[in-house]
Assembly symmetry: C3
Homo-oligomer: 160 residues x 3
């Protein structure tokens, strides 16, 4: 039977606004005592990248190219609308600060402190050529079967 204390989210999108929405929901649910699992896949993995370039081994040329072009971490994510070549995210950050809304970095930290489980999708990591050493600490690494297991135990499952 569905357990009202579990939630899962697939974070497919790597856009700042969508990742923000995911983290706000995750933190809200965790604050209410829910167990939350965030499964980061495809572009969503970019939110988990370390801001600095990390040394990696065994990437193909294509994977190096992908790795080079995709944003490194929350600070480089773009908006799905009104991005304006990167000015949009800066403006949104400024408004969020003015309105006392936590920044994406703070929301990520809070989520980890509250025990939100963050899983990086290993199949997507392979396709995009992202290595574990490029991603932030505190993650788990798993595939779609793990996601489905978590979703079966949860009562709210979102694809973001």
């Amino acid at each position: 039977m569905a357990d009202t204390t579990k939630k899962t989210m697939i974070v497919f999108s790597g856009e700042l606004d969508r990742v923000l929405a995911a983290l706000v929901i995750a933190n809200g649910a965790a604050a209410m005592g829910d167990e939350v699992t965030m499964f980061f896949t495809f572009w969503g993995l970019n939110a988990l990248r370390q801001p600095k370039k990390q040394k990696t081994k065994g990437k193909t040329v294509l994977q190096q190219m992908f790795g080079h072009m995709m944003p490194r971490g929350p600070g480089r994510l773009t908006l799905s609308h009104m991005n304006f070549g990167g000015v949009g995210p800066q403006l949104m950050r400024q408004v969020m600060r003015q309105q006392n809304v936590s920044s994406i970095e703070e929301l990520m930290a809070t989520a980890q402190e509250q025990g939100v489980k963050m899983i990086a999708c290993t199949m997507s990591m392979d396709v995009m050529g992202l290595k574990r050493e490029e991603l932030i600490d505190g993650l788990e690494f798993a595939g779609v079967a793990t996601y489905l297991g978590a979703a079966d135990d949860a009562n709210v499952n979102l694809f973001i």
Copy 2:
């Protein structure tokens, strides 16, 4: 236990096609007797704006800029594909009329008549600088905790 008579949708996207999809699902479920809650957040709030510019107080310069650039109401929403500078939505409206599919304005009205609960996310309103007087009548105003409460009682929860 999940109750088969409740549905929730987070309407994050403000694109005409996605808002249409959300409203079609909401109206379909409401017609079958379900209680439906639509939680409008981020760009989705634009679907709730009044078409005419409203007088507002207390907006920062940035919020005024955002408010100026974002579409005012369903009539100004763009398509996620084939927008063609605004021609796409006109063409889609024309085809929908030809096919006897309700327009977005009619779907909104039907949803409200059928008692679909529409909640505007107050945190997003703060970030985007949208004031209550700029939005249509008949809305509720609440945050993520209210959404999560509704989602816990529902058996279908979508993020659109």
Copy 3:
């Protein structure tokens, strides 16, 4: 009561990466014994088109235009990011091959072999002017009420 053996997905998006994600989840769930229903609507219908132009009757000029501009089948879908005028999807296919990840065509075939139910949304077909003879074999044709019925019986319902 929600049955842990059923899943539904609305495939609204017609982007290669999102359709891939949907198929990976569908195949994963089907492999675990779940009954999976994929409801293709709006741009998602493009993933179901036959690659070759089919003769059709009764399309309006607008519907012919839409049909002409939208991608025909999985091989023509674009990426939501880094599309680079069609080079992106080719690069992604190449990396997927290198990493032994199934192609979208293989994932579609596997899904059909595993009995994943694929429904084409008839209302969207009308709006976009897509005829049954333009779509692949093995589909069912239905509307939102059928989707909602399936979602009521499922324990995981995603909007992709």
